[in-house]
């Protein structure tokens, strides 16, 4: 899976983009657990429910099934316009 980070999330992960290959991650909830373990500083933001998730460029709120070739993005509330 390709993971993309935007805005200040990048300051926590120190990468914009990375590929993870884990057969453990079969849905978004499992992905969240994985990513908090990898970046513990994301935990408090995850708990406050301010982060947003997109799978293949679509917002996802519930835990959706993930495939190995999915593109997952994590980002804070937007501020365009």
């Amino acid at each position: 899976m390709k993971i993309k980070y935007f805005a200040w999330i990048k300051d926590i992960t120190n990468v914009e983009e990375e590929v993870i290959n884990s057969i453990q991650i079969k849905n978004l909830d499992e992905f969240k657990i994985y990513i908090i373990k990898k970046y513990p500083d994301l935990k408090k933001h995850m708990e406050k429910e301010i982060l947003r998730f997109a799978v293949n460029q679509e917002y996802i709120t519930n835990s959706t099934t993930l495939n190995v070739d999915d593109e997952i993005a994590i980002f804070p509330p937007v501020s365009g316009g």
Partner: protein, 138 residues
């Protein structure tokens, strides 16, 4: 038409290019957003606008489709810039083309609402001695 670009744009030219295609257009409502010199009492030096480009294109295509279902539009145009933008720079242009005013006016506002609420853009605002990632309130 949707454009996500670093470059500045001329809205007379951009709007004319579309207007020329449609002699039945009587109304163009538009919104232009600029970088202001001040925000929350902090003097702004510039902003850095980040975009998730692939997602933003998909989103803006979807919202234009929705606007076309709700209103009688002849055409529409969204230009959103990204990268480093100084004070007074244009950030965004939304223009809606219709026969009559009401359709262009309401759809332009609808697209702007969506754009501010959901589209995958983030502003990093730089002040004299710090910077801050913004989150749209509306």
């Amino acid at each position: 038409m949707i454009k996500i670009q670093k470059e500045d744009f001329n809205f007379e030219d951009e709007i004319n290019k579309i207007k020329e295609l449609h002699s039945n257009v009587g109304a163009v409502s538009s919104f232009i957003g600029y970088v202001r010199n001040e925000n929350n009492k902090n003097k702004v030096k510039y902003i850095n606008l980040e975009v998730y480009e692939e997602m933003a294109y998909k989103q803006l295509e979807k919202i234009i489709h929705e606007a076309n279902v709700k209103w009688k539009l002849v055409d529409s145009l969204i230009i959103h810039r990204y990268g480093k933008l100084n004070v007074n720079s244009k950030i965004v242009l939304v223009a809606c083309f219709s026969k009559h005013r009401k359709d262009s006016f309401e759809s332009c506002n609808y697209i702007m609402d969506y754009l501010k609420k959901d589209a995958a853009f983030w502003k990093n605002e730089f002040y004299l001695d710090k910077n801050e990632w913004l989150a749209n309130s509306n």
